[in-house]
Subunit: 508 residues, 2 copies
Amino acid sequence: MKDSDFDRRTLLASAAAVGAGVLLPGAADAAARRVDVTAIRKAAEAGKAETVARLQEWIRHPGIAAEKWRVDESCDFTMGLLREAGFQMVRKVPTDGSPGIFATLDAGAKRSVGIYFMYDVKQVNPKEWTHPPFDATIFDKPGYGKVVTGRGAVNQKGPESTFLAALHAFKAAGRKLPVNLVLVAEGEEEIASPHFHQIVHTPDVMAALKGCEGVIIPDASQSETGAVEISLGAKGPMEFQLISSGEHWGRGPKGDIHSSLHAMVDSPVWRLVQALNTLVEADGHTPAIDGWFENVRPLTPREKALIIEASTKQSEADMKKAYGIKTWINDEPWPVALQRLAAQPTVNIQGLVSGYMGPGGKTVLPGRAEAKLECRLVPNQTFKEAEAKLRAHLIKRGFTDIEVNVSGGYDPTETAEDSRLIRAEKAVCARYGIDVAISPRQAGSWPGSVFTQPPVSVPAGQFGLGYGTGAHAPDEFFVIDSSNPKVLGMVDSAMAFVDLLYELATIS
Amino acid sequence: MKDSDFDRRTLLASAAAVGAGVLLPGAADAAARRVDVTAIRKAAEAGKAETVARLQEWIRHPGIAAEKWRVDESCDFTMGLLREAGFQMVRKVPTDGSPGIFATLDAGAKRSVGIYFMYDVKQVNPKEWTHPPFDATIFDKPGYGKVVTGRGAVNQKGPESTFLAALHAFKAAGRKLPVNLVLVAEGEEEIASPHFHQIVHTPDVMAALKGCEGVIIPDASQSETGAVEISLGAKGPMEFQLISSGEHWGRGPKGDIHSSLHAMVDSPVWRLVQALNTLVEADGHTPAIDGWFENVRPLTPREKALIIEASTKQSEADMKKAYGIKTWINDEPWPVALQRLAAQPTVNIQGLVSGYMGPGGKTVLPGRAEAKLECRLVPNQTFKEAEAKLRAHLIKRGFTDIEVNVSGGYDPTETAEDSRLIRAEKAVCARYGIDVAISPRQAGSWPGSVFTQPPVSVPAGQFGLGYGTGAHAPDEFFVIDSSNPKVLGMVDSAMAFVDLLYELATIS
């Protein structure tokens, strides 16, 4: 979407025409669908105020898994939203952590489509926010239009509300969905989904999912240029904390003591530094855990080609500016850096906590030191393998005293480029005239592997038009009415979901 | 002080008798002194309420150098206290940091004695305190007696107030001091005295100090068994922070970014871990900075003998219990561990700060990581040498991007065992029947080297009876009236300072 004179209204009209002519099997079906879609759009527009109010109320019902805060309340609220949107069966699925949700909408259709929701949100530091993060304030943001701000606005309640808006529009227009829906939701996405497999592997949930064409996680995937990237997969995370303590080690102090005693008392902090130092190579980024690359599959020629193609559609300068970065690893050129972004498994330190953390110094020998780490795994590494190798690596080097607390994680996910799901998504983008880049693998993670791997084994991926930003950061927001002609607002994005469901119902 | 039936009143009476008979040069002088001391004791007892109130008000005027908080106010308050105690000249000495104080009390005596005061206190976390840290609450503490609690109670305002109480008692009794006093005070002891040399090296301050028998830092040095350890020296500290940041490095992010980007973006946190890891040997405690041991002087046979003797007077079990420690470095036996405590120079990590520090994990690649460290130097290392070697060590290994912020420090200090100062201190303890251990070197630090080294070159050391604990910790307190017969209260401790001044006036 490079054309700065792009006119969305024109485009939408032509897209509808193209869609009707090219993508439907027969002229009669096409005509019927055109009538249906027109009615659904009218309903979506009429229901806009309710759609926005629903999203605001959802933001006002946060659940933060990392803090075990308001999780049950958020789960119950989400279940109510699903019932209102037309799911006939909505059931809470207990896990060893936050509860999940299983819901089905039987439209009497031939095909079924899976939907993944998360109802939890990332932690917040309210002091960093312009508007209180759970107020769901609506305001006009220059360059974007009418937006709602709040934690979860884009990650992931805005896109999920947009999908629900599509279902409400079907209902209000008195139209049946062209596919049946099987929805699973979790409340621990932000802590790396430690119990999501328990939800998906519940026998009737699994049976329902296995019958789906694929699983969609609603997303707001347009960039500010309107372009969309469709990912064929994502890395798998392993979240863990390494803790060194006098208490567990049996050496060093139990609590913080006067620093002068380090002359005769061991330091759990140095112990942690030495253990950490074994985890990456001297280059400061290549994982050095024994056997880490054993099952790593290099990028295929097709994957490399896709990345090189995608690199021409993304602005290196914009990304450097957005992230405050001067240079990539090894000063690599943009297409090479993007290949590394997709290909390299990582071991990252997210945080360090020990002893005195205020201004200046304070003369203590700390009794405890914690490093918060996370690995990102690539095919064909597995979460189970990674945990076992990490533990073996530390034990082999004598760090048996270091506590390894694996708090979440799952395998990387992959979906075939020629699956119906991906082809349907591309078709919808094409109808809207949207520039699509196919990314073989996101560097970030979502728990798609529980769908794409046995025993479920169906395609899965994020999809959705529209825009929002600020996930995991302050002032997260989601666009309701877009003032940028290249980017869709909430009603138009809901209609893209309507189109996708029709597409999935009929694509060969 | 091993006798559990020890009666302090009896002891004080006999000590006075012994002192009068043994330590004074002539019978007439002895008789005169006895009369003086009796009058001074009466005055000290009469002035007790004022002494305690003075200490409370001082605690209520804190100055925290690390936070640049209420420092000037605390300096002015301290200057007022000195004037009230009889110093005829009290002058503020500007430095590049907190101001210092220079004060003199001319008693027309032959000899002069230096006094070191600090008026700053350590940081506090009020939530950790039973009583607000700056309220100076007085209460009865079972096993101790009447105590005052607050930041600075023992470190160092309680002992300093006890010394001032001695001066007030001289004044109230209409007695001249047997020595002149030269006092220097600083407000940055708790940040390792970065500007104290500027105070001491002011020409008239230096001239006055050079004429002193030695410099005393008032202390409450009795243990709960009543025993006293007199230190002949102390290690020198070097406080510093190592900071790795994307901003300074030119690699990695400026702020915290999404952790998945570590696949293409360098990590300032790994960079810091790698730099840190070069600073100690694999044993986790021996400094590995290039050339670190070049000037380290091993313990002399006399120093070893003193430590072995002292080790019999200290309870290893009590110390392990107090600090929550199961074993010393290398599982060394108590006398060996105590030798290491005195002999080993250290590089200690006081704190680690980076990225996400709350519960669980959070998917960020931090833009900055800071380690708060401190070295303890032993003779003949110097602060200047240590800083130069640390910087050279990091530069040699390519860590030119790591910011080295040396926030304070000074040389180790040593005073001869046969100096008048040490002999006078021992004599006072002997008169009180107090068990004395001579420690060749404290593992902790105080800026005595500015006195003991050229250009001043006079003996210097902590001294004082009485008890308090909790320096740098919550619920710090200082004993006013001791319910433990082995430990002196504030009035008796003030009288020990009176005795010390007489001793220093006459000792050959």
